[in-house]
């Protein structure tokens, strides 16, 4: 260790790995429905896609949480995105590709991806 910058670089690198242990998750959380139907429809890949995309973008204050079925079985896999105090947004019929877009546009950009939401499907 020659200087402080090296130390800070390690801290930076570790930060998003450790953020998961912050049970406050101030910035928000993503709840993926993991009922039997959800799992059969590929909810597992959706969970992995969320963690991977958040990690890639160095976002470490948002938890990806698995939960039971969110409700609508035929629109699985589903996920709820809770950002700060904003009302939750429910996304349906998710795929890893859609997840990448949601992370980029909604979570980073702050703009809800309307076409994937539950209300768009009705």
């Amino acid at each position: 260790m020659k200087n402080v910058e090296e130390l800070l670089a390690i801290k930076e690198r570790m930060q998003y790995q450790m953020g998961i242990r912050n049970d406050k998750n101030e910035a928000g959380k993503i709840v993926v429905g993991m009922g039997t139907v959800g799992i059969a429809a590929g909810a597992k890949d959706v969970v992995l896609a969320f963690t991977e995309n958040l990690g890639k973008n160095n976002i470490f204050n948002i938890a990806v949480i698995q939960d039971g079925s969110i409700g609508c079985e035929k629109c699985s896999p589903m996920a709820e995105v809770h950002m700060g105090d904003a009302e939750k947004v429910t996304y349906v019929n998710l795929t890893p590709e859609k997840v990448a877009k949601i992370v980029a546009e909604h979570i980073i950009g702050g703009k809800v991806v309307a076409e994937y939401t539950a209300s768009a499907g009705k």
Binding site: V4, K11, M18, I20, R21, D23, M34, V47
Partner: protein, 595 residues
Amino acid sequence: MYRSHILICGGTGCTASGSASVIAALESEIKAHGLENEVKVVRTGCFGLCAVGPIMIVYPEGCFYSAVKAENIPRIVEEHIIKGRPVKELLYKETVTEDAIKSLNQTDFYNKQKRVALRNCGVINPESIDEYIAYNGYQALAKCLNEYTPQQVIDIVKASGLRGRGGAGFPTGLKWSFAAANKADQKYVCCNADEGDPGAFMDRSVLEGDPHAVLEAMAIAGYAIGASQGYIYIRAEYPIAVERLEIAIKQAREYGLLGKNIFGKGFDFDIEIRLGAGAFVCGEETALMTSIEGKRGEPRPRPPFPALKGLFAKPTILNNVETYANIAQIILNGPEWFASVGTEKSKGTKVFALGGKINNTGLVEVPIGTTLRTVIEEIGGGIPKGKKFKAAQTGGPSGGCIPAEYLDLPIDYESLISIGAMMGSGGLIVMDEDNCMVDIAKFFLEFTVDESCGKCTPCRIGTKRLYEMLDKITKGQGTLEDLDEMEKLCNYIKNNSLCGLGQTAPNPVLSTLRHFRNEYIAHVVDKKCPAGVCKDLLTFVIDPEKCKGCTLCARNCPVNAISGSVKQPHTIDTAKCIKCGTCLDNCKFGAISKK
């Protein structure tokens, strides 16, 4: 990127209750489900709530599983890790409410604490220097080397008001300034990890849970006083702590955080471990340093104090593990932050190891000035079986008892001394109505008689005589004059012993005599032990009204002292009875009592 971290306590407490087999089960189960790239298993240090170990925390939810067994693991993995449904009946009860699951930090045990020295314990993997760095590790050292002169570092520690956490409470900054002022070609920084009080495990837990915090602080101390070599003196009975220290030192050397030219600032510092063989006297500073030198661990007279002539006759500072654990936080957050916690003369927080008759046995850290009532009733969860609190013992064999009338006394160094107890290193043993205070004093004296190194006469012979007097009293052969004689002998030992061991050895006797003289009088005058502990003063009797003649007691009595026919009241032959209590434990009708 892992989507979940599972933290399991690998401290000594939870290891003893089986956490190693839980970790093994978890790792194999995760592998069996192909989750090894999604879920990370972390073996941490002590969480503090040792009573309900092994403890396991699942993130990101922060679910708190208590008393986990290896056979629970397949279900937890299947339900929680794969399907996302926490297994409620295996969670720590207090965290499960109707509509939500609370995290560890929201429980009564944790939310009344303030964790400074223990901040990383149960939070990071102590075997990963990167995780320590993620929580600002080694930044305090960097700050000192880049921004402060050694004198400024000492001034900061002085301004924080930090006092030694080993027991005596000497101001840390002052100690450092003495050693800094003495010129020498070599100086030393030592760490006292020879925690020897029965029931104390604060230092062990810090070293098991956050070893780098101690290394970083020692390097800061080295910079402050101008030393390039540090020694950690730790007892060999702490294998987990020793192993983690060894790993930590190796990692710090690899990163260049120990060794030559740290952060390119021309400062050299390295640390070595010295194992102690478990002699209590080696916790005394001069004996400790003599032992590091490779000699028999015996104290020597002071002055010269270690700041002038310490290890290898060079200027040396010796601080306790917990003292060091505060240093980096003081540097990073400023002395004002630290001084804002605590009482006027005692700043910061103190770690206590709760033991004895208390529900939440374990490790707690509270602001100094917190009352004993908060620690015992609110954080400690009170006394089991609804028994009545009698006293708390602090400071181990050097300390004293705090009786019930002082439950609301704010705990700090001065207040405890004023009532004849002491802060000590932090062992806090809770006693209820079933504990005999004479017996407790005898227990501690037996310990000091064993541990007295024998170098000076007042301690070697005095403690032995004192023990014999206590023994006489517990056998019902004492007199009122003995009590006065004991007090005289106590004061003689205190005033004439060479080192802290002998000077404090009579404290358990003096403090119980002061606060529980009635119990002593009951032993010597009425020849009774009110708590029913001292066997020679007890008689076991069977109440003929309650006895159903089931014969269970008679069948279990190891000396055949109980006789009687079936369905008739039994009797105990007191001449034969050895007062083992087996009959009392076996009686289903509550017919047997001890008087």
